[in-house]
């Protein structure tokens, strides 16, 4: 960890570093419930993640969650993809959110965090979110020939085709 990042152990330091390094990429930053939440433009994801891992020391990607904003007002895209990073030891938490439109793609986190592999596959399988640069983006839960993305809000709970 370089010296400048070592000084900024607090979350405010991280936000500052991010806005400093990636002006224009950071759309919003807020502290909610003792955790820093940052909204990013999706194009900058790969480099931001690289910075956070290598220089700010966020060594764990805890989760990738996708939310379907169908019907909700505002936002840059139908889906919000949330990356939850954590730094151990010290347990500092960071929430990165990026919006992506239907059919558009996000840069993949796999080159930075290996554990993003299957989480991204799950996001693709369940929502149809595409990831650029993912080594093997295919369905993980549903059968390979399944049509549709089940966790989307417009996909019925009982499934299509009579739930067969």
């Amino acid at each position: 960890m370089p010296e400048d990042a070592a000084d900024r152990t607090g979350l405010d330091g991280i936000l500052e570093a991010l806005t400093g390094r990636f002006p224009g990429a950071v759309l919003a930053g807020a502290f909610e419930r003792n955790e820093l939440s940052v909204r990013l433009a999706k194009e900058s994801l790969a480099s931001v993640l690289r910075f956070l891992k290598d220089e700010a020391g966020f060594n764990a990607l805890e989760d990738i969650a996708v939310f379907d904003n169908l019907g909700a007002a505002g936002g840059d895209g139908r889906f919000t993809v949330v990356y939850r990073l954590c730094r151990f030891p010290g347990a500092l938490r960071l929430r990165l959110a990026a919006d992506v439109a239907e059919g558009a793609s996000l840069p993949s986190a796999v080159p930075v965090y290996r554990s993003a592999d299957w989480a991204a596959r799950e996001a693709f399988d369940m929502f149809g979110v595409l990831f650029d640069g993912h080594p093997d983006l295919r369905r993980i839960y549903m059968p390979d020939d399944f049509e549709g993305h089940p966790l989307r809000k417009d996909f019925p709970l009982a499934g299509r085709n009579g739930g067969a």
């Binding site: 805890e62 965090y113 290996r114 299957w118």
Partner: protein
């Protein structure tokens, strides 16, 4: 005759893979070149289902995720909802939750050691471990009426109070488990065959483990001291004095030792919790129809399998907008390929077993 590599398929029906998991192995004679897990055989659409249920109704379904440690799933979910809704859980309830969660960890690890030993061929250990587990399940049955899928932890606290007779029974069981564990240890710890099959097998260095996103006992066996109960304590875990067993080599043997060590520590925690059980309510008053203002919360716990996380997003109604579960076994299983490469085919079973995965959690 030339030797060539071929693909071997294990599962989804197989006496060994713990659940319906399919493994595609590329094997060169006996040496494994790569492992690709194929998932989805137990996918039940949990996350979709949860969006159509109220916050309370989701709790029993979380049992069915890691069905060998259902209380942990309950706890993870309830803590997240409480964080989102701003519900304050009373002190007694927090201690009861700790008791339940640690007893659950005991049951989960005992089941694990039994299955692991059985896979390697030591059949009797399975039954010894399960005999100890039976005592713990009997306590659960007395507490909430079920043995496996418990939902004994509800939003706001626990389902019932721990009265004096039950506390006495728990103490009695805590006295018996170490004896059974000693039997297991006597059969395995210094057993030459066990050690040949587990020492040096499935090695993963600490750095690799972290890079793969591993959590839980498998990570701690590689020497990385991350434990949510210590790092981000929840439900009053910081009140208790316990150690986190660590391994040195990150092989199957170390994972075995770490989990057995955790059993001992769980017993210690439960004793402290029972000794210091504060007075008060066993649950906060939570309305039947629980409406939560729009927001999002993420919370993690140290489940027996690793770090279990829930993200809950609310939309003002009594049903969640989205619940995303961060499954420890799902992330851990990704490391299987790296762990198995270069080892023998027979080792795959042992390495898979040492990861301690549950398909309910992986497939949701």
């Amino acid at each position: 005759m030339e030797l060539r590599e071929y693909d071997l398929n294990m599962g989804p029906q197989h006496p060994s893979t713990h659940g319906v998991l399919r493994l595609k192995l590329a094997v060169d004679n006996e040496v494994v070149l790569g492992v690709e897990p194929v998932l989805g055989y137990l996918h039940r659409g949990m996350e979709k289902l949860w969006e159509s249920l109220t916050y309370h109704q989701v709790v029993p379904l979380t049992d069915r995720l890691d069905y060998l440690a259902s209380l942990s799933n309950n706890l993870g979910y309830c803590l997240t909802v409480e964080k989102l809704a701003g519900i304050e859980v009373p002190g007694r309830a927090r201690y009861i939750r700790v008791v339940l969660a640690e007893l659950q960890r005991l049951a989960s690890h005992l089941a694990w050691v039994g299955f692991m030993a059985n896979d390697i061929g030591a059949m009797s250990v399975l039954l010894y471990a399960f005999e100890a587990r039976e005592d713990v399940l009997d306590i659960f049955e007395e507490y909430c009426g079920a043995r496996l899928t418990l939902h004994g932890i509800r939003i706001g606290g626990a389902v019932r109070d721990l009265d004096a007779p039950l506390v006495a029974r728990i103490r009695a069981v805590l006295g018996k488990v170490p004896d059974r564990l000693d039997d297991v240890r006597a059969l395995l710890d210094e057993n030459r065959i066990w050690k040949e099959r587990t020492v040096g097998v499935g090695r993963l260095s600490g750095a690799d483990a972290v890079a793969h996103g591993l959590t839980g006992p498998a990570l701690r066996a590689s020497g990385v001291p991350w434990d949510m109960r210590k790092d981000i304590p929840y439900s009053s875990y910081d009140d208790f004095d316990f150690e986190v067993p660590l391994g040195a080599n990150g092989d199957v043997y170390d994972r075995y030792l770490v989990r057995l060590g955790e059993i001992g520590q769980s017993i210690r925690i439960v004793r402290q919790a029972l000794d210091g059980l504060p007075d008060g309510e066993f649950a906060a008053k939570v309305p039947r129809v629980l409406k939560i203002a729009p927001g999002e919360a993420f919370h993690t716990i140290e489940a027996p399998k690793g770090v279990l996380g829930f993200t809950v997003r609310s939309n003002g109604t009594d049903k969640p907008e989205r619940v995303k579960m961060r499954s420890p076994s799902f992330i851990n299983l990704q490391a299987l390929d790296a762990m198995c490469r270069g080892y023998m085919f027979s080792d795959v079973i042992g390495i898979l077993g040492s990861l301690d995965i549950v398909l309910g959690e992986i497939d949701k």
